[in-house]
Amino acid sequence: MSRFHPLTVTEIKRDTRESVIVTLTPPATANGDFKFIQGQYLTFRRVFDGEEMRRSYSICAGVNDGILRVGIKKVDGGWFSSWANDELKVGDTLDAMAPMGNFHSPLMPLEARRYLGFAGGSGITPMISLIKTALEAEPKSTFTLVYGNRSTSAIMFREELEDLKNIYMGRLNIVHILESEAADIDLFSGRLDRAKCDELFSRWVEVEGADLAFICGPEQMMLAVSEALKAHGMDEGAIKFELFASAHPGKAKKKAAADGVAAKGKKCSATIILDGAARVVELAKGEETILEAALAASIDAPFACKAGVCSTCRAKLVEGEVDMEANYALEDYEVERGYILTCQSHPRTDRVVVDYDQ
């Protein structure tokens, strides 16, 4: 039931010393699943040393560009980003889920809108998509991008942004803020913090009358920018946030139980009884839930909310012990009788028997 598709790497372009731009082609079997909305991201998976890693990267292309590509910046200690920068080759395949994400607003081709964008480092990746798409689809709209980086050499998409400025003459303004380089004007050096934003908004970038602001970068930068925007009169509902693309874990790794009983990596054998039939599945302790393991084995186990709220995935634990992450649905007496929410349950014992029929 995997929702991953194998994408072929068709081009790898070195962008800065620490980043690459990877162009991908979806397989014919994906049937248009990779059509995307500006600002969306792809989630990749890859196994490193026996452990599956998932990482998400924003698509950095306009919706009508006819290509699918992502920018991957090397993160200190980041396995996936280091591997993509150092070892990935043209012709390799990468498993990816269909595009996801909500960092966009509907396009209004007839309107003249004024957009503000704030990017920190690789936070530029979804902005490229937003800028290209909006300026092409809305001929009367303008975009002001404030882009913070450590130094000139760290600026991702530097040339491409210059080209866009020339294509959309007068409609795209770019303000670079560089941390470690003294610019001619003090305003353009330093970090994109609250003080810098206040300074920019009173001297350079007009917040009043702007329709929408998009912010993507590290948490502290995003908070500073949004606080400054609000202080300069922007409505909170007009500000859109996207946490650093590379910070999307895709799917958070389940923590091992604090007492170490459900030590990560150890296997548990789970017998799952549904509609009178028993099947045995193996699952990694501390990682998968019983429901996930059942679904992965193509068992049609019932579920609805997957958040411990609705109790559709309720089953009776006949043998073994589990930890439940959250339980909003079961009453105490049900828990005492051995009922569990399988979407929230991680086995503690090496063997569990779970009965959906009881």
Binding site: M222, F241, L243, A304
Partner: protein, 257 residues
């Protein structure tokens, strides 16, 4: 990658998420619970009002009731789609509870949830006729508007933006109720007594949808940026709004407020 503590700090300072990926487990559970409560309430509310359409005195009233039913179902569908982004099975979810089921008019279920049906308890009580449905709609409509207003800037932006679109329509539902209430009140004293009875019936049941004062869950939701104002403040706003809208509809209503 940001760790959970940084994420919680980010949220408590007004940071937002635009996708499910970064949500820590506890946050995710509270958000899904909030959305489930909204979806179940809209589904159950629509199911209850659907039965009232034919009780409307004329075409205009039946259109108003139909519109409310239609739009509440649409609102449920919109938020259910967001739950789907978190892995919820929307097709199965929309039929997991018998949304039209009601308890007895005089049963008292307090504030305890009924099994895993997350509708607000007020939607378990039956509506007793056209006048009663109009009063319930005026009072619960105002409560819904106040409760949703506190969630439009919530830290999960897709939900916040969906609620931004939903809010003006829920506001209109409450206004339609007030128009209906004025028309009923103009019919005379017998009708007004019936209105009074309905107000007295619904008042405590709707007041309890605001939750307990100084609730631990409300404090947690505030830390997560999912809610902003305390329960008692929202309740106070509702009481004030009720005293204004009921007295303007009824001329001089001096009931429960």
């Amino acid at each position: 990658m940001a760790d959970e503590k940084e994420i919680l700090d980010y949220l408590s300072r007004g940071g937002k998420f635009s996708a499910p990926g970064n949500a820590p487990a506890r946050y995710r559970a509270e958000l899904l619970r909030m959305m489930a409560s909204f979806v179940d309430s809209e589904m159950a509310g629509a199911a209850g009002f659907a039965d009232c359409i034919n009780k409307g005195p004329g075409v205009k009233e039946r259109i108003a009731a139909s519109r409310i039913v239609l739009e509440k179902l649409d609102h449920a569908g919109r938020v259910l789609r967001i739950m789907g982004d978190f892995g919820a099975d929307a097709a199965r979810y929309q039929n997991i509870h018998p949304w039209a089921d009601r308890i007895g008019r005089n049963d008292d279920i307090g504030v305890t949830r009924r099994g895993s049906d997350m509708r607000l308890n007020v939607f378990h009580y039956p509506i007793s006729g056209w006048t009663d449905s109009v009063v319930m709609n005026v009072m619960m409509g105002a409560a819904t508007v106040i409760q949703l207003s506190d969630m439009v800037n919530c830290s999960y932006q897709p939900l916040g933006f969906a609620l931004r679109d939903i809010l003006p329509r829920e506001t209109r539902h409450a206004e339609l109720g007030e128009e209906g209430l004025r028309a009923l009140a103009a019919r005379g004293d017998a009708e007004r007594r019936q209105i009074d009875d309905s107000v007295n019936y619904w008042w405590p049941r709707i007041a309890s949808t605001f939750g307990a004062p100084r609730s631990e869950r409300a404090a947690l939701l505030k830390r997560f940026g999912l809610r902003h104002r305390p329960n008692e403040e929202l309740l106070e706003e509702w009481r004030n709004r009720m005293s204004i809208s009921l007295s303007s509809a009824l001329g001089s209503w001096g009931g429960n407020c």
